[in-house]
C-alpha cells in the first residue's frame, strides 16, 4: 500500500480511538463507577509512557543526550515553558556532539 494511504489510515485511526476515549468515559459513567484501582492506573499511564519513550535515548545512547536531557529538565523547571526547554535541549546536544 502507498505510504500516503497508510498515513491517512493512521491519522483516521488515531482520531477514532482518541474520540472513543473522550466519549467513552462519559458513556461508561452511565453504566458503572470505575474502581479506585482502575482510576489510579489510568492516572499513571501518560507519565509512564513518556518515560518509556525517552529512556533509551536519555540513558542508553551517549553522554551528550544524557546531559542535554538534564539541561532540558532544569530549564523546564525554571521557565515552565516547553518551547524554551526544547530549544535549550536541542542546542545543548548540538554543542556537546561537537566537543
Amino acid at each position: 500500500m502507498q505510504n500516503e494511504t497508510l498515513t491517512l489510515i493512521a491519522i483516521m485511526g488515531m482520531a477514532l480511538v482518541t474520540y472513543a476515549t473522550r466519549a467513552g468515559g462519559f458513556w461508561l459513567m452511565s453504566l458503572v463507577t470505575p474502581s479506585p484501582r482502575v482510576e489510579a492506573w489510568l492516572k499513571q499511564i501518560p507519565g509512564a509512557v513518556l518515560v518509556a519513550i525517552i529512556a533509551p535515548t536519555v540513558l542508553a545512547s551517549s553522554l551528550a543526550e544524557t546531559l542535554a536531557a538534564l539541561a532540558t529538565v532544569l530549564v523546564a523547571i525554571r521557565t515552565k515553558n516547553v518551547l524554551i526547554a526544547m530549544v535549550v535541549g536541542v542546542a545543548t546536544v548540538w554543542v556537546l556532539r561537537r566537543v
Binding site: A15, G24, F26, P46, A52, G89
Partner: protein, 275 residues
C-alpha cells in the same frame, strides 16, 4: 493536550499560576463522585445545568491565556511534523481530528519507520489518551440532564486545559455546560493554526540531525514530564518504566519498548498508589 485525568494538564503547567487550581479541582471531583455514589445519578447540580451561547463565550474568554501556551506547543508540533515528513495537509488533519497533543507527539516519534507502523501508532495513541476516560467520567453530573448530543459534541473539545477550566468554573458555581465547548474551541483554533505555522516554518530547516533536531522529541517529552511531576510517588513507576523500556529497546525489535515500559510503569504506579 491531553492531558490527563486529574493528572497532567501538560500545558496547564506552563501557565504561570503559582497556586494551581488543579488540586482544588481534584478535591471537588472526589466530592462529586462521593455524592454520586451515595445518591445515584440524580445530582441536584445537574438539574440546574444549562447549555447556552453566553456560557460558551465565557469559556472562550477564559481560555485565551491558555490558548497562547497551546499555540507554543502546537508550533513545536508543526515543526516536528515536518521533520517526520508529514506534509501540511496531514499535519493539519492530525491536529484537527485527533486534537490531543501528547499522543500526537508520540505518534510522530513512531512515524519514521517504513512501512508505517499503523497498528502500533493507533494502539499507542489509544494508550496515551486513556486518561480521557477519567476526564469524561467527571463531566457526567453536568451533562446528565442535557440532550446527549450536546455532551458527545462537547467531549471532542475536551482537552486537559479546557477540562480543567470547566471543572474550575463548575467548582466556582458556574452551571453552564457549554463552557467546555467554548473553551475547547478556542484551544482547537489555537492548536490547528499553530500547527500550520510550525509545519510551514519547519520546511526551512534542512538536515535536522546536523542541528541536533533529532533530539527535539526527547526534549519536548522531557519538558512535558517535568510538568507531570507530582513528587516522590512518581519515582518508582517512572524508574520501572525507564528500566523496562531500556531493556526492551535493547532486546526487542521496533517500538515495543514504549508499550512495555508504559504498561509496567503505570501498573507499578497504580499498585503502589493503592496502598
Amino acid at each position: 493536550m491531553e492531558h490527563i485525568g486529574a493528572n497532567i494538564p501538560e500545558k496547564m503547567r506552563f501557565q504561570r499560576w503559582k497556586s494551581s487550581p488543579l488540586a482544588t479541582i481534584k478535591g471537588i471531583i472526589a466530592v462529586q463522585r462521593a455524592d454520586l455514589s451515595e445518591s445515584g445519578n440524580t445530582n441536584t447540580t445537574s438539574e440546574r445545568a444549562t447549555f447556552t451561547l453566553s456560557g460558551a463565550l465565557l469559556g472562550a474568554r477564559r481560555a485565551i491565556p491558555l490558548a497562547l501556551s497551546v499555540s507554543a506547543v502546537g508550533f513545536a508540533f508543526g515543526v516536528l511534523a515536518h521533520q517526520a515528513k508529514l506534509d501540511v495537509v496531514d499535519a493539519v488533519l492530525m491536529s484537527g481530528l485527533v486534537f490531543a497533543g501528547a499522543s500526537q507527539f508520540v505518534a510522530l516519534s513512531l512515524w519514521g519507520a517504513m512501512p508505517l507502523p499503523v497498528a502500533t501508532i493507533i494502539l499507542t495513541t489509544f494508550i496515551v489518551n486513556l486518561r480521557h476516560l477519567l476526564m469524561g467520567a467527571s463531566l457526567r453530573p453536568w451533562f446528565s440532564r442535557l440532550p446527549p448530543w450536546k455532551a458527545y459534541i462537547s467531549v471532542f473539545f475536551m482537552v486537559d486545559e479546557s477540562w480543567a477550566l470547566t471543572m474550575g468554573e463548575f467548582a466556582a458555581g458556574g452551571r453552564d455546560a457549554a463552557f467546555l465547548l467554548g473553551s475547547g474551541m478556542i484551544l482547537f483554533i489555537a492548536w490547528v493554526s499553530s500547527t500550520v505555522i510550525g509545519q510551514t516554518i519547519g520546511a526551512f530547516i534542512n538536515n535536522p540531525a546536523q542541528w541536533g533536531l533529532d533530539f527535539a522529541f526527547t526534549a519536548v517529552f522531557t519538558a512535558l514530564l517535568v510538568g507531570m511531576w507530582k513528587g516522590k510517588s512518581n519515582i518508582l513507576p517512572w524508574a520501572v518504566a525507564a528500566v523496562v523500556a531500556v531493556a526492551a529497546a535493547h532486546w526487542l525489535p521496533g517500538k515495543w519498548y514504549i508499550i512495555l515500559g508504559g504498561a509496567a510503569g503505570s501498573l507499578v504506579g497504580a499498585l503502589s498508589d493503592a496502598k
